[in-house]
């Protein structure tokens, strides 16, 4: 006589766990993005002329169906608005492809700003005014912890 068990409940539970875990990971990364963006916008590494760089510092979650398109549009708009009519320097708002390509199961946080002189801030005078690089470094470990905390709450 064959021995049969009904494992449909188990499989459904595992599927729920996978969905809940994926959501928790995105929540943890969002916590990190929020903290990273706040840290960048509060930087004292450089001052403000137009405020475009500071206003457009943006950190957002990518992967798992999140493209960051709306966050990027908001960051670009902030830089554009700050530079509209500004004549203190020739910098422009800039939006370009990040070049970041994630695999289907990869998630991440993209740190950026939307001015065409950000590269100079990150490198000139031995990175004297760098913000994005140091923020990535300072947030990396804590981002792992943030995701772990969210995963611990999965039931």
């Amino acid at each position: 006589m064959p021995f049969r068990i009904d494992d449909s409940g188990l499989l459904a539970g595992l599927a729920r766990l996978e969905r809940a875990s994926s959501a928790a990971i995105l929540s943890g990364l969002q916590d990190g993005a929020d903290a990273g963006q706040a840290e960048m916008q509060a930087t004292r590494a450089h001052g403000d002329q137009s405020s475009a760089t500071r206003a457009s510092y943006t950190a957002y979650v990518i992967g798992g169906g999140r493209t960051g398109a709306s966050e990027a549009a908001a960051g670009y708009a902030a830089a554009q608005a700050a530079l509209a009519g500004f004549q203190g320097h020739a910098g422009k708002a800039l939006s370009q492809n990040s070049g970041v390509v994630l695999g289907p199961n990869e998630r991440g946080i993209l740190y950026t700003s939307f001015t065409d002189y950000q590269d100079k801030l990150e490198t000139e005078n031995a990175a004297e005014k760098a913000v994005i690089g140091p923020t990535v470094i300072s947030q990396a470990n804590e981002n792992t912890a943030r995701v772990a905390r969210r995963l611990r709450s999965v039931r």
């Binding site: 100079k120 031995a126 990175a127 140091p134 470094i137 300072s138």
Partner: protein, 138 residues
């Protein structure tokens, strides 16, 4: 007892400035040798003869109960006509000067080498950077 930050910074800097481990780097800094090893803050002063290297001390990361990670980045500069030829020869020498046990009480590792770039704030000098992290439990 935690290590003093200034002591870690000084030890990392001394590797290239005075220690035997950095002798090959100083030899490659053909203009000013050891005097071409400077802190990034001193880029505002009179620059050494190129090629020269400048140390940027980055963030220190880690909660009290965690390991601490100190970030250091050497920027290598040269004259524009030289482009990156001498810089690209110096970068591996810097990497070799920092084995895992370069700084006591922790582990030193290379994190990244930047792409070549031009530093317009320093007279359009070609430049490249090499970043390290020093990890310690103290």
């Amino acid at each position: 007892m935690p290590i003093k930050l200034v002591a870690v910074d000084a030890a990392f800097y001394a590797v290239l400035r005075t220690d035997s481990a950095g002798a090959a780097v100083r030899a490659a800094l053909v203009g000013d040798g050891a005097a071409a090893v400077i802190w990034a803050a001193d880029l505002k002063l009179t620059l050494p003869r190129p090629p020269f290297v400048a140390l940027n001390v980055g963030p220190v990361v880690g909660k009290r109960q965690d390991v601490r990670q100190h970030t250091f980045t050497w920027f290598v500069y040269d004259d524009a006509p030289r482009r990156w030829s001498r810089i690209d020869a110096i970068i591996p020498l810097i990497e070799a000067a920092y084995p895992a046990d370069a700084i006591t009480f922790g582990d030193t590792n290379i994190v990244s080498i930047s792409q070549p770039f031009t530093d317009f704030a320093l007279g359009s000098r070609p430049a490249r950077s090499i970043q390290f992290v020093y990890t310690t439990r103290r």
